[in-house]
Symmetry: none
Subunit: 405 residues, 2 copies
């Protein structure tokens, strides 16, 4: 069992079950950077009266998902918000993809993240994503590969979306420590997979055999005429949120990865649609049945990765228009946070701390009355590790008893 934070150990002892409800909203890539012309970030530019009002009634701050200066991937960014130490709880890419598509992992299974890619006649990778093939193509090609037979092991191949699939290796004597075949570059050939220790010899052999077969099978499917594998990994054994917090937690997320992350920490994943409106609808419909909701809002991150400042502004405004639906439900605790920043100016995840807003009847409000990076910088939560979000939410829901005599 991978251990959590020190706070988690304490919280396990003092958490109590109660009818109060917590809604944790994670706006993916929430934090931004100022536009050079206006000096305002995406959030500072957006017209978000409902969030501003909630900030005025709540307490705000800036959270570091992993540590100051560290740019988090999606997994550490979310695990921290769920209260797990993101440095000690490492989740491999393969497992994350597998869990995200609902693949039924068995003990010992090893999963790798796969890309359909394009190679030229010399065998050099010319597009690591095969022009982002359509989802239907991804399904069809994954099925082709899934039907191949490899000696000694079963290799399950499942489509994710576009160029992305998961390969799950199941069999006796497989150990994890192999290198990736994905060179992470174009103009070079895929790398042969090699064992990083003697125990992993068998996996290296079967993975290379799988890749060789895939190359043959895909030869006529240009641009998806080859595969790249990386992130070979096994399931971590995390204590569940029910075990730690005594919560009955549910996840509402339209993207596979976040559903997968939620499952890893024992949340029930609710079926939902792809829009923000549909996610809020799912929350409303299931509100009576759980005492903790993780609501994941994806598009702000995508817009950030695309460098689209204005679209981020619009998405924040769209989100804000849905807030009254949430307020009407009257949760005991509302947290609005990000898993990391994705400034349009940087076109990617960044290390900048994320704005956090916590509202409850018992939050002891600060003087912040706008929800933005600069306003949160002067909030009473201060600058704090994101792993403290859950203890604060639990406390504000009156779900934690006294520590010590």
């Amino acid at each position: 069992m991978i251990e959590g934070t020190t706070s988690q150990e304490i919280i396990k002892e003092i958490a109590i079950s109660s009818p109060s409800k917590i809604v944790l909203i994670v706006i993916d890539g929430l934090g931004g950077l100022p536009h050079p012309e206006t000096g305002k970030t995406e959030l500072e530019t957006a017209n978000i009266p409902n969030l501003d009002q909630l900030a005025a009634k709540g307490i705000c701050g800036l959270a570091d998902p992993v540590a100051p200066g560290i740019t988090p991937g999606s997994a550490p960014g979310h695990l921290a918000l769920f209260g797990y130490d993101p440095v000690r709880c490492i989740i491999g890419r393969g497992i994350l993809e597998a869990v995200g598509i609902g693949f039924d992992l068995q003990p010992g299974d090893i999963a790798a993240r796969g890309n359909f890619c394009t190679i030229d006649k010399r065998g050099l990778v010319i597009d690591r994503r095969a022009g982002r093939v359509p989802n239907e193509k991804c399904v069809a090609l994954s099925k082709l590969l899934d039907e191949q037979v490899i000696r000694q092991v079963r290799v399950f191949v499942s489509p994710v979306r576009e160029h992305r699939f998961v390969a799950v290796f199941r069999g006796e004597g497989l150990a994890l420590e192999v290198s990736d075949s994905d060179p992470l570059l174009t103009g070079v050939p895929p790398k042969p997979i090699s064992a990083l220790n003697p125990e992993a010899g068998k996996l290296a052999i079967v993975a290379n055999e799988f890749i060789a077969q895939a190359k043959t099978v895909l030869a006529k499917h240009y641009p998806a005429n080859m595969v790249l594998l990386r992130g070979f990994s096994q399931s971590p054994h995390l204590p569940s949120m029910t075990e730690i917090y005594k919560l009955k937690p549910a996840a509402i997320a339209s993207y596979p990865m976040y559903r997968g992350l939620a499952k890893l920490v024992g949340m029930e994943v609710l079926p939902t649609g792809t829009t923000i409106e549909e996610e809020f609808q799912t929350l409303k419909q299931n509100y009576a049945d759980y005492d903790f909701f993780f609501l994941h809002i994806k598009p702000a991150d995508n817009a950030g990765e695309d460098g689209d400042f204005d679209r981020r502004v619009e998405i924040f405004e769209q989100f804000d228009r849905n807030m009254p639906e949430l307020i009407k439900l009257n949760p005991d605790v509302i947290v609005v946070a990000g898993d990391h920043s994705t400034p349009a100016m940087l076109k990617g995840h960044s290390w900048h701390p994320v704005p956090v807003l916590l509202y409850s009847r018992w939050c002891r409000p600060d003087r912040v009355n706008k929800f933005s990076e600069s306003a949160c910088a002067s909030g009473a939560l201060g600058r704090f590790p994101a792993t403290q979000v859950m203890p604060l939410a639990m406390a504000n829901a009156l779900k934690l008893t006294k520590f010590g005599a």
Copy 2:
């Protein structure tokens, strides 16, 4: 190998080499305390338009070198800024002096910091610094001691400056754990050196023998008629900054101790002059050849130790006048920080957190537009451990890749 901070372990994994440049300026003893008449600290009194302007464009905060309430020595104050855990990376005074004068330490060498001191006829210490003898005298007397022969071991004696020398003990069977002879008081005799464990018996014997010989040799050299030894220590094995950060780092420092500290973490120490202007000149001349510069500004600390409030103000202003030279070089990241506070009102190092200013194109500026203790207290870096300065500098130089999937 002594381990660094958790962040250092992560950073080792995600650091990349790139052409971007970081300049870390450490103003020794930067933080101060308000003058009772004006209510303003030294920094708040000084006219420092260039620093204020950089603060307005940058992000500010207050850093604790070791921990709140802990007054750091020079070594922990600097190690923290270089990203090393100052509590786990202990560097003895002897080693620090030896490295600082460029002494070629061999594995197993044990170094002690030595003072020439004055004893009276009864053998009581009446001046622990022998009236701060001139440097020439320090050189001559060190040579006399260096020529003495001790049974079984070689004792190298090298001058540092004024009353200060280094004694390096080299030989078989020496272990470190001995007490100091320096009583740190006047009016008492030097203390005999004693072994703190059985293995250190030999070092205690030879050190006492060395001191006895020194007393004889120095008898006619009043006021420098005796020696005091303290801080017996061996070289720590710190991972280099190149190993951790993949940087090519250079140090510009006029005082031996800071050059020594820089060497211990693998920086190349550049020859420079003794004034702030000469140090900036050295930076300019070597700017093309490195991607990280540690620039050490000493005199503010000296003025603080002397309790000279006005001189500290002048030094900050003098430093500020040199800032345009730095700005012209256009480094990707500029950090201005202190290794600890040295308020004139306290005439010594103090526990007060130090103002930190970080400027880069990507820093997400806060609302601070003055560089001072009180302004930095409301900066978006918040109050943070000084070990986070390097991760933040690396991130802002875009020298860190993403952590986790």
